[in-house]
């Protein structure tokens, strides 16, 4: 780790001001950023800690949606009665991220802003057709994820909360990469007000919607319909832990299992 300055923001406006002044990076749960800094792979001159920003906290039901503050830790989502009652699949997803230490520090906003290609939360945001609220605007899930570690966020733009419409039914099935236990492939299937949505993480450079699965499950929401879909391997990731063909094979298998889990 290289030396850096540390600032602790007291409000959303204060955070934006500190970021602008210092030219530093926002620090949410730090589960990716701090690890990269320890390995000297990231060298921010300053960090602005968001943990005390009141506008980024809390879990609440607002109409037909669950709104979760950006600085909410994975463990809080996993154990929230509000989330478990309304979107149990989202609580279960949070419970499956990393290990206990990661879940006690990692945050929803941090995970989305980082947009790791193998992260779990992007699949939930995309499949549930969530809306990302920032200090400047609202961004629909379909417009938020732009590519590997890329999002629609502008410089200095901070996620404040995410609004998840409550689905009719939904489930997330993660197939772990054996070493990291990140998603080798993760599939989130949701029956939403706007139809079936299927989001896939881990398989490509960024989370994406699997339209063929959405069409098939829109017609028949069952395992067989999912399994009948053939996914193209081209464009999918290939590495030590799985070829593109293997990932392509896993997507409908996991989608089918998610359908079964959704009940």
């Amino acid at each position: 780790m290289y030396s850096f300055d540390m600032h602790k923001a007291t409000s959303l406006d204060n955070a934006a001001a500190l970021l602008a002044q210092s030219g530093g990076k926002a620090l949410a749960g730090g589960q990716s950023l701090i690890a990269a800094m320890k390995l000297r792979l990231a060298q921010p001159g300053a960090l602005v800690d968001l943990s005390a920003v009141p506008e980024m906290k809390g879990i609440r039901k607002e109409g037909d949606a669950i709104v979760i503050g950006a600085m909410t830790r994975h463990a809080e989502v996993a154990s929230s009665k509000v989330v478990k009652d309304a979107i149990p699949s989202l609580a279960a997803l949070a419970e499956g991220i990393g290990d206990r230490q990661v879940r006690n520090m990692g945050t929803l906003g941090g995970a989305l802003a980082n947009n790791d290609p193998a992260a779990c939360y992007p699949a939930a945001v995309l499949a549930l057709n969530a809306t990302v609220h920032t200090n400047k605007r609202q961004i629909a899930a379909d417009a938020f994820f732009k590519g590997m570690y890329e999002t629609a966020l502008a410089d200095g733009e901070l996620i404040t909360s995410v609004s998840f419409p409550i689905p009719k039914k939904a489930a997330y099935v993660k197939f772990v990469q054996p070493a990291s236990r990140f998603a080798l492939v993760g599939v989130f299937v949701a029956q939403t007000g706007s139809g079936v949505r299927v989001a896939v993480t881990g398989a490509a450079s960024s989370v994406f919607r699997a339209k063929a699965l959405e069409d098939a499950l829109g017609k028949a929401f069952n395992n067989d319909a999912a399994r009948a879909v053939k996914m193209e391997a081209s464009g999918l990731n290939s590495d030590l832990h799985g070829s593109a063909a293997y990932r392509a094979h896993l997507i409908p298998v996991l989608a089918g299992r998610a359908v079964l889990a959704a009940g």
Binding site: P178, A179, H249
Partner: protein
Amino acid sequence: MGANEPGVIGQSVRRKEDLRFITGAGQFTDDVNMVRQTQGVFLRSPHAHATIRSIDLAKAKAAPGVVAIFTGADLTGVNGLPCGWLITGTDGKPMNEPPHPVLAQGKVRYVGDQVALVIAETLHQAKDAAELIDVDYEVLPAVVNCVDALKPGAPQIHEQAPGNKCYTWALGDKAAVDAAFAKAAHISKLDIVNNRLVPNAIEPRCALASYDRAADSYTLYVSNQNPHVERLLMTAFVLGLPETKVRVIAPDVGGGFGSKIYLYGEETAMVWASKRVNRPIKWAADRSEAFVSDAHGRDHVTHAELAMDKDGKFLALRVVTNANMGAYLSTFASCIPTILYATLLAGQYTTPAIYVEVTASFTNTAPVDAYRGAGRPEATFVVERMVHQAAVDMKLPQDEIRRRNFIRTFPYATPVALTYDIGNYDATLDGANELADVKGYAARKADSEKRGKLRGIGYASYIEACGLAPSNVAGALGARAGLFEAGEVRVNPTGSVTVFTGSHSHGQGHETTFAQIVAGRLGIDIANVEVVHGDTGRIPFGMGTYGSRSLSVGGTAIVKALDKVIAKGKKIAAHLLEAAEGDIEFKDGKFTVAGTDRSKAFAEISLAAYVPHNYPLDKLEPGLDETAFYDPTNFTYPAGTHIAEVEIDPDTGVVEVKAFTAVDDFGNIINPMIVEGQVHGGVAQGIGQALLEHCVYDPESGQLLTGSYMDYAMPRADDLPSFKVGTRVTPCTHNPLGAKGCGEAGAIGAPAAIMNAVHDALSAVGVTRIDMPASPHRVWQAIQSARA
């Protein structure tokens, strides 16, 4: 019987060391700090193979806090690191033994090869300065695979090793094997890869070197398994110092699995540099550094053939193995795929003729050396995968083919140089069959099938040679070191006992097991026994801990010292009790005149030895402190049968270990709880090798692709079932404890048992070969290929 009562041998006494470990009070090398301590950082090669054109230190030396920077050019008068075992090839020539420099000399040969030692006031200053060193590399082509390295045109790694060959070595009667194959009713064949592993001790390597100008002596704290060997190699072979000038202390050590046996360049450079800077130097490897620089394990490529008669009786075994030595010969690298491998290829079977040929080659990878089991897991994997295949080919049940070939007469001389003293292989096989409920397997398999899963069962009836071993035998085979052990039993005036052992404990629980031996033999409270290990300044001598030798060799040395204590105690008792020495019996902590009620307690005798007012001073020295060196007459031969049951999801390729049963014969057991823990740990590592762990270098660039836990899969608790373990006992015939050793058995038996189960399960879909690790991706690919 409680832990604090005498007679504790054979009891599951709670570990004396656990309080400090569980409460964070252990003292590991990195917990030791000294006044005026500096921090060392090693600049490592980013290339697998390159010539160093120049090194510019100017900017780095001017960086804040820098105390000194040393490169290979500075180490004048420092020899290379030695290899402790000379292998003589089939050509009658000694192995090629290229120099193994402490810091790179003009060339780097693997990613992580150390180029410079940067010493600064703080760790961050040292790291910053290391980044300012400008090394001009001419990058050369690299080779990482041990077979590729031998091909014509492969990049040449050492001038002293033409064709990258270290040696070709053979054992056994080739003509007898050829003759047996010629008349065989059936021949089974197998090609296997034993995957390369990274040891991953929980405590990365660490050292603290200091120099005392007034005494002209050095002290090295180091995370190491055998401090006396470390000192001997460093002083006599590398630095040219008398042993008396270097004290090596290996305090609490967080696991080793073999990787901390060796003398490494890092601590050697630090000891040398500590005099130059006249300040203590601390270095602690981070995990990334451990991945690239610890000696790795395994990495064999093998072809094996088994000749049988029409009934499945083994006639001959032929094995050809290529072994990867890495870029340099680590301390015991050369003997692992030869002496500790080829000699085990008889397994538990009466195979009358065996011939094995091993070619070891250099590659642009980290050095490869002993890793838990060290040669014996590789041998067991060959034998037990081969036996599994033979049973499949002969259409015999897996237990039946083993029974048809078991050795039942002891002592038994194998065709590969060992003589097994004792064993009962039927007992452990039968025990495993029963504990694993093999009778109920068919029903469990049917249940798996109902759920669309493939179920398989696999056996491994392993044997290992432990106790390493008679020094003269090892010497005749090329060992450049002795293989005895030393123990000192110091009885204090009030009867408490301090034991100094040359064995080192880094997770094995010696402080408890050895204390049990002493408490049991002397009939005293275990709380009155302290075990001291890991310090050349306090312990007479030691060869250290590896090869499951601590109890059978180190424990026996303590027993021999105890015998001397008791013998002297009898003399003192005879004087005090005014009886003939021959009439004194020692039992339950009392010296008694035979046939009378006249006796002296142990503590009365020890007090008399140190307060010799009424004492036979004319015939006997005061004091009660005895040392013994014990050199065994043979290896010990732990053996057993492991049975694995797996269930495979053909949709994803995931292998789930549903059950794992281990029934082992470790000879007599001192502490069943500790033994069970050793089995659990070993089995977990073995399952890790079979299903998860894989050290992969890029074949083109030579970069380590699995250089962190993001890509190197370690077994976790939820990867494993609850193990079923049992023991059967045939006491070792040639040590007084009757003990054989248990530290490596799990890692030796488990990979073959698991992979046999995987092959059994996948046979239903036509898969005939899958290599370790049987990862979901590989299993799925194998199923696709078989279906295509």
